[in-house]
Each structure stands twice: as C-alpha cells, then as structure tokens.
C-alpha cells in the first residue's frame, strides 16, 4: 500500500515533468529556422512537392495542434520517423526528390531501441568497474580518516578527476590496442569492444563515489550509536557491516542514480572517440544531420529514463532507510 501510493504519486509527477520537457523540446525545434518538409524532399524539389509533403505530414497546421497530435502519437509509443535514415540503416545519399534509393524511412523508436542495449551494456560495465574500485577504497578511507587509506582515496580521486576523458581514451587506445594489442578499440563486434570505453567512463565516475563514500562513512562512524556499539557488546566487524555501511549507503545511492542517468543519456564524447554504436553516437549523428524527429525522440526518451531512475533510486533509498519519505 505504502509502495503503491508512493509509485502513483511519483509517476504522476514524472509524467508532468516529461510533458513539460516534451513541450519545450517541441517548441524549440519548431521555432528554429529551416523547413522540415524541404529537408525531407531535398533541395532540388519543386515548391509544390514541398507543400504537398508538408500537407501530408500535417506541418501546415498551427503549432499547438501539431503538439497535441504529437502527444497523441507519443502515448501510443510512436515517436515519429526519422527525416534522413532509411529502414535499412544506410544514410541517404541522393538529394533528388524522386531518387529511387529513397526507401521508407526508419521509425525513431526503432532507432533508439536498437542502440539502447549497447549503451546499457557500456553503462553497466563502467558502473561495475567504478564500484569495484571505489567502494572498498572509499569505505576504508572513511573508516580510517587521516590515515593512509583516506590519503590514498584522496590521491586516486584527485588523479582521476583531473584526467581528461578524451585524452585518456586516446592514450589507452594507443597502449592497450595499438601497442599491446590486448583489447579492440574502434567500433563494435563483440563484448570486448565495451571494455576500453568502460574503463575511461569508470575513471570519470570513481572520484565522485570515492568522495561521497569517504565522507558519509566517516560521518556515520562518529555517530553515537556506532560509538556506543562496542560498549553494548557488538563486535567491530558487525558494527561496520550491519550498521555503518547501511547508514552511509544513502548518499551513494543518490549519487549513482544521477551518474546512471548521465551514462544512459549517452556519453557523447566517449562513444564518438571509440565509434561505439550507442545512444550517444546516434545523438551526435542526429544533430549533425539535423534529424529533428530523432533528436526530439532521444531527448524525450532520456527524460523518461531520468524520471524512472530517480523513482527507482528513491524506492531503494526508502527500503534501506525507512525514515526517508519522498
């Protein structure tokens, strides 16, 4: 009952946020210069063809009407069709409106869903790597403030945070793939292609986790109930594992929610450097090709993901600490 009412309230709030985001993106794309009908039929098409296309797509109607009909499609899961991408996947070459190579164009949702697993895989591997390194180190740092684990955590955090990701990507490619030939770097033809970009991403996330965890563990260790635990007769390991860690997890979980949202939003630079066919690369190409329906679709899709992740994070935080109520 408690969870149900929570979900209901949060999902309603989320729907409102998504509606707002949709409206903003939709309006922005309508007010920028450039006629989508002209873009679709190509520069060489006669004006009548442009008008016909506009009528066919409903682009001659007032913008609010267009927005409402777009929303109607959105609810049924129809994010529209790409301006430039055909179903086969190849980009359009010819600019003539009656070019035979212009086949049926691809659905935006299909394009997103095709790349999403790739991005999910990259995000999951990156997050797992980061947690693997940062959680033990961050916890130790918090348990021994001012001593060597704390200093080590600080040092590693500083180094990671000050390494530019594009530089690290290139250097790692140079050493691990080109010189040592350990890992493949460019494109995607199997799981091993995920590892290099994931390492670069993990290096980016590690300092945040380290910092958050060190601070929250150190803070919890100063609490009365931890200080009293040995006097009550609890052993140190029990105090740490069943009380200290649980209480310091909340800030970490909130942080992971934000980080995961960013990762799923597509890590533009990294996917571009490694030519990794995820959501990020799709976004960059959509922007370069002015594929408005695709840009719009990706933006809305990402905002939905953000909302869902946040609801999930709050739900997990609430399970860990029943005092929290969102």
């Amino acid at each position: 009952m408690f969870v149900l009412s929570f979900l209901l309230r949060r999902l309603l709030q989320g729907a409102l946020i998504i509606l707002l985001v949709t409206f903003i993106i939709f309006t922005l794309l309508r007010v920028v210069p450039g006629d989508p009908a002209r873009l679709i039929v190509g520069g060489m098409a006669p004006d009548e063809v442009v008008v016909m296309k506009a009528k066919e797509l409903g682009l001659d109607r007032p913008i609010p009407v267009q927005f409402v009909s777009y929303l109607g499609d959105l609810v049924t899961g129809d994010l529209g069709t790409s301006f430039v991408r055909p179903k086969s996947g190849a980009s359009l070459g010819g600019s003539s409106f009656d070019d035979a190579t212009r086949e049926e164009r691809a659905k935006v949702l299909d394009l997103i869903l095709a790349t999403l697993p790739m991005t999910l895989q990259l995000a999951a591997v990156a997050l797992a790597l980061a947690l693997l390194v940062a959680v033990p180190l961050g916890t130790l740092g918090g348990l021994y403030p001012g001593r060597w684990p704390d200093k080590l955590a600080l040092a590693i955090g500083s180094i990671c945070v000050s390494t530019p990701n594009f530089w690290l990507g290139i250097v790692l490619t140079l050493f691990l793939s080109v010189k040592l030939k350990l890992l493949p770097a460019i494109g995607y033809r199997g799981f091993s292609y995920t590892i290099l970009p994931a390492i670069v991403l993990a290096v980016e996330i590690v300092p945040f986790i380290l910092r958050t965890l060190t601070v929250s563990v150190a803070q919890v260790m100063r609490e009365d109930f931890i200080q009293l635990a040995p006097i009550r007769g609890l052993s140190r390991s029990r105090t740490i594992f069943s009380h200290a860690l649980g209480n310091s997890a909340i800030p970490l979980i909130n942080l992971l929610g934000v980080q995961l949202g960013m990762l799923l939003g597509g890590v533009l630079v990294i996917e571009f450097i490694f030519d990794y066919p995820g959501l990020g690369l799709l976004t960059i190409n959509a922007v370069l090709q002015r594929d408005f329906p695709l840009i719009q679709g990706i933006a809305i899709f990402i905002s939905v993901m953000f909302v869902m992740i946040n609801v999930l994070v709050d739900l997990i935080a609430m399970t860990i600490d029943p005092r929290l109520e969102y």
Partner: protein, 607 residues
C-alpha cells in the same frame, strides 16, 4: 554475597592534546556492592562521563587510561585481552547513555537490534528465545503494546520511550552492573521521574547494581543510597545520600547544594503587578497539515496551539511552561509574529498585528524582540561583534555613526568588554554570546522581550548573572518579559504570572504563589511533583505523578485532552472539554474537577 562487585582503585585518565596532557579523572577509588545503587554527581566537565567510559575500558584517543585498576567480579577489566573484555562489556555490564534517540541504528527495528546485541554477547541463545526475552522486558519497562513496538525503528519513538528501550537493551543480558550515564538529562520532568521510578522498581526485582551518574544531586538523591561527589576529576566526598545532602562536609558539596534553587522553602514569589496591557493574545489557534505516512493524499491536522488567551502587562514577567510537544515553540513563533495564527488575534500595544501594513509591522517589530535558545547558531560567525549589534539599527534605517554609538552603549549595558567590539564571536562563552543577543535586542529599545528557553543552554552561574541583568534592564527600561521555559525553578524565581500548557492549551494560568503552592489543575500538580528536589516535595509523587505520555496532537481525546492521564478524571470529562474558567484573584484553570483553593479546602474540612 560478600565483597564488592566493582572495585575501582586509583584510576586516572589523561587527555593528551598538542603534546600536553591534562588529568581528567584523577586517582579515583570506590567500590560498589552487589545490588547497590551508587550515585555520582558533579558539574558538567567534572569527568563523570569519562569515568563511566573508563570503567568499561572504552576510552579512545585523545583520552588515555594512565593508572589504576577496575576490578569487576574478580577480574581487572583494564588488563583483559579483547576477547575476555567482550564477554563482560554489554553482557555482565550494561550501559545506558544520555542520548536515547541516537543510541541505536536509526533505520532498523529496535527489537531486531536488541536481539542482535543479546545474541552477540550470548551466542548460546537462540533467535526465538532472545525475541521472547526482549518482548518480556519491553513489557516490564511498560512500553505499551510491546509486540508492535518491537518492529518499530527509533524514529517512531519519543525520547522517554526510547530511553525505556535502552534500559531493555542494557538489562537484556541479565547484567550484574548497569552504568547509567545522565540518562534523565534530555527528558521532560514527568518522563524523567517515570524513568527513575521504573529503574527503582526494576532493580528490586532484578538484583542489579547501578552506577547512577547525573549532574543534579536532587536527581541522584531520588534513587541512590550512597553518593560520590566529583570535582575536576577527583572524588571529593562520599557518603550516604541523605546524610550528604543534609550535612555536606566539603565546601564543594556545600556550594553544589547551595546552587540548587529552592522551590518552596524560603521563597518569596514575585508578586503580580498592575500595568497597561502590552501584549494581548485572544483565542489564538494554529494547526499544521502533515501528510499521513504512506498515503497518497491524506493529511493529518496537528493542532499545535488551541484557543490560547492571555495578556502581558507592562513591567511584567510572564512565564509559559509545559513539556515538549505542548505547543510552546509554536506559540513563541506566533508571539514573535514569525507565523500568523489561523484564528484569534494577537495585539501589541492595542494594535492587532494582522491589520498592520507591512511597513508599520516592521516599525512595530522594534518593540518586541525574540531571544533564542541556541547561543551558537543564533549569531553570524563571520561578523564582528559591534557590527552584529548595529545590524538591527541599520535595518531600521538609522545612520551608521548613530548606530555605532548606540551599539557601544548597549555593549556596556549588557556587560560586554569594549575590546570585543571588533572581534569575531569565535571562542566566546555561551553566556557572552547570549549577552550579544540581548544587546542586539536592546538597541531597538523594545517594550517586550520574548525569551524562548534563552537561558537553558547556560550553566547555573552564567544563568544567575543573566537573570540579574534581566532584572536590571527591567528596572531601567521597564521591559516586559515572556519566559518560555521547561525550567520550573527559573520560572518560580522570575515570573509574576505563569501559564501552564498541555497539548496546545493553557490548562492553568495563575500568579506565582498560587501556581506553586496551591495549584488548581491536576497537571500542574503532576509537573511540580515530578521536580527533583532536595527539600520535601509539597506534592508527593505517589499521589500526583502521572503515568504514560501525552497523546498525539493528531488525535486528541474527546472531551478534556488531559483525561487520558488524569488521576481525577471522571465520566463527565469524556463529554465536556473544560473551558479556561476564571477563578478568584485573576487566576484561571481548565478543569471540571480542579483542586480547591485553600479556603475552599478548609470549608470542606469544616463540613
């Protein structure tokens, strides 16, 4: 059983800081017999809590045990290996601290945590057996519906209930010694009195020895047979508690006792005065909507202040007392016009504050100033003192030169050294900080000061100095004061008239001598009976002390809201909510079966 259960000899603890060491516990020796309750009193900073921790070998850097022995049941705790120590700590010796709300993991059910502890110190006990034992003890410390409370987390408990839970936590392993370190300090008087009564009952049935530590001799005197007095780390006096209280041998003990404010013996109550009304409060109401936990859109109405009326006259000290949750703080916020009442009106110097324009309200605010409890949080830490005191003047549009002059006058008046003018407040004592707050209010030449627990963070000496300052300021400027406090002794000393609040209502409003000597409302009597005193309490506990805790302000009992705890409640109390009735001598009480005034009582005897 012969021989002491705990024998401490020549125990010393040092505090090492920046290469210098200071002795915190100095050559302490004492013994504790099985089943005995030994009191330990001393002021804040005398080393009581450090001693308590040293007894269970739980001091950590910068503190260090430098000498001595703590022999418990024949073994020296200080020289035991960690494994043997863990068989004693939490098992044979229980420990209860001063912060019940922070003593357990705030996320987890209390029952689960006590079971965890019990099975940690007694690995032989099964889960089900441990659970039964905890449930049994929860019932014995009189926690209502222990079966349900077992599964609740600390944040769902009140301070008093949580302290009962910590008593269960300490007693669950059948220890032979319990160290109780200042356990009543954070609790309201009636709740603290209940806890003491509870421990007194438990120890008779359990045969457990207690080391009962407190900064208040009257508190210790309620329970301990023998008492140690500690000063600057040393035990300066030891003896039978009653003997020690009546005939102290050491000057320090005498000083300690002389500082305990007297409530009935040789007290002259400040007499009520006449004067024009400064502050008029008429039927003021304030409630809050709080979303019900786990609901989509349901709200609870918390009635924080209900139908409160009173007047404060010029030059008068008006006291408002009550326990936590009675609506004092909300009322303070209303009086200072930080929040507006939902109903009723508050008038200052005859002008209804809700009818004033924003501008004249700001102007009016100069005349009533609020002084807060926390001397640290209420001052901006990065501002020089004089600038701080000038600030209210600058806000009210007074020129810089004039403001500076007035700020310096105010500093002199409250007794702040001129050398401090350009200093930041870092390193100032709590008392000095409150002087700054007083000066900040004083520069505006107010008519009324609202003191919300302003003195409760200060020690006895600082408190006495500031009370003198308040009296002096009243004599020169004709201030009125509203004292909002839980400290009955302070109110007894300072206030002309006093209102007692319970669950958002004033249940009794009377002049000082009536309220303390012949109160009409059973709740007032309960409050007075719960006060720890060395003198004979006029209202003996067995007859007046309450059980249980106030009901939640979300669902108040029908009829009289005090009915659920009232020893005099009768059938009609459930039907009628008694209004605040005017009695002889300008006093008021809200009770259908109030205690009679003295002359009425005599009349009954004659019949």
């Amino acid at each position: 059983m012969a021989g002491p259960i705990l024998a401490v000899s020549n125990l010393s603890v040092d505090l090492e800081r920046e290469g210098r060491s200071r002795r915190v516990v100095d050559d302490v020796s004492f013994a504790l017999a099985p089943g005995e309750v030994l009191g330990l009193v001393g002021e804040a900073g005398s080393g009581k809590s450090v001693l308590a921790r040293a007894l269970v070998c739980a001091v950590s850097t910068p503190l260090e045990i430098t000498a001595g022995k703590v022999v418990f049941e024949g073994k020296d705790i200080l020289s035991l290996p960690p494994r043997a120590l863990s068989a004693i700590r939490g098992n044979r010796i229980g420990f209860i601290g001063a912060n019940p709300m922070g003593s357990l993991d705030p996320r987890l059910p209390i029952g689960q945590q006590i079971v965890e502890k019990l099975r940690c110190v007694r690995p032989g006990i099964g889960r089900a057996e441990a659970r039964d034992k905890v449930l049994d003890l929860l019932a014995r410390v009189r926690i209502p519906s222990p079966g349900a409370r077992f599964h609740e987390a600390p944040f769902q408990f009140s301070g008093g209930m949580m302290q009962r839970v910590m008593i269960v936590d300490a007693l669950v392993s059948d220890p032979s010694l319990v160290i109780a370190d200042n356990i009543t300090q954070p609790l309201d008087v009636t709740v603290a009195a209940q806890i003491i009564r509870l421990i007194d009952g438990l120890r008779q049935s359990l045969d457990t020895a207690f080391l009962f530590i407190s900064s208040s001799l009257p508190v210790v005197a309620q329970i301990a047979e023998r008492t140690l007095v500690m000063q600057r780390g040393r035990i300066v006096e030891e003896g039978c508690t009653a003997e020690l209280a009546a005939r102290p041998r050491q000057s320090y003990t005498r000083a300690l006792i002389s500082r305990i404010p007297s409530i009935w013996k040789d007290v002259t109550a400040p007499a009520a005065q006449e004067g024009e009304a400064v502050l008029t409060v008429d039927n003021v109401m304030r409630s809050y909507l709080v979303r019900r936990r786990g609901s989509f859109n349901a709200y609870n109405e918390v009635k924080a202040v209900r139908d409160v009326s009173f007047t404060v006259k010029a030059g008068e000290n008006f006291g408002i007392v009550g326990e936590s949750g009675c609506g004092k703080s909300t009322l303070t916020r209303l009086l200072a016009w930080l929040e507006q009442p939902d109903g009723g009106r508050i008038a200052f110097l005859g002008k209804d504050l809700s009818h004033l324009s924003a501008r004249s309200l700001t102007e009016m605010r100069r005349s009533f100033q609020l002084l807060l409890q926390d001397p640290y949080g209420s001052l901006p830490s990065g501002m020089p003192l004089q600038r701080m005191i000038e600030e209210p003047l600058l806000i009210h549009g007074i020129g810089r030169a004039e403001a500076g002059k007035r700020a310096q006058e105010a500093m002199a008046e409250v007794g702040l050294d001129m050398e401090l003018a350009d200093r930041l407040p870092v390193g100032l004592s709590a008392g000095q900080r409150q002087r700054i707050n007083i000066a900040r209010a004083l520069v505006l030449k107010p008519r009324l000061l609202i003191l919300d627990e302003t003195l409760s963070a200060l020690d006895q000496v600082e408190q006495a100095e500031l009370l003198d300052l308040f009296n002096r300021l009243q004599a020169t400027h004709g201030f009125s004061y509203v004292f909002i406090s839980h400290d009955l002794a302070l109110v007894r000393r300072m206030c002309h008239r006093i209102a007692v609040m319970y669950l958002g209502r004033i249940v009794e409003l009377a002049d000082n001598s009536t309220l303390f000597e012949q109160p009409h409302h059973p709740y007032t009597r309960a409050l007075l009976s719960a006060m720890p005193t060395l003198e004979d309490n006029r209202f003996p506990r067995p007859r007046y002390l309450l059980d249980g805790e106030p009901p939640s302000p979300i669902d108040l009992p029908l009829g009289c809201s005090f009915r659920s705890r009232c020893p005099r409640a009768q059938g009609d109390c459930a039907k009628t909510d008694p209004p605040l009735l005017a009695l002889a001598g300008g006093n008021y009480a809200a009770c259908l079966h109030r205690h009679a005034a003295p002359h009425e009582e005599e009349a009954v005897h004659v019949e």
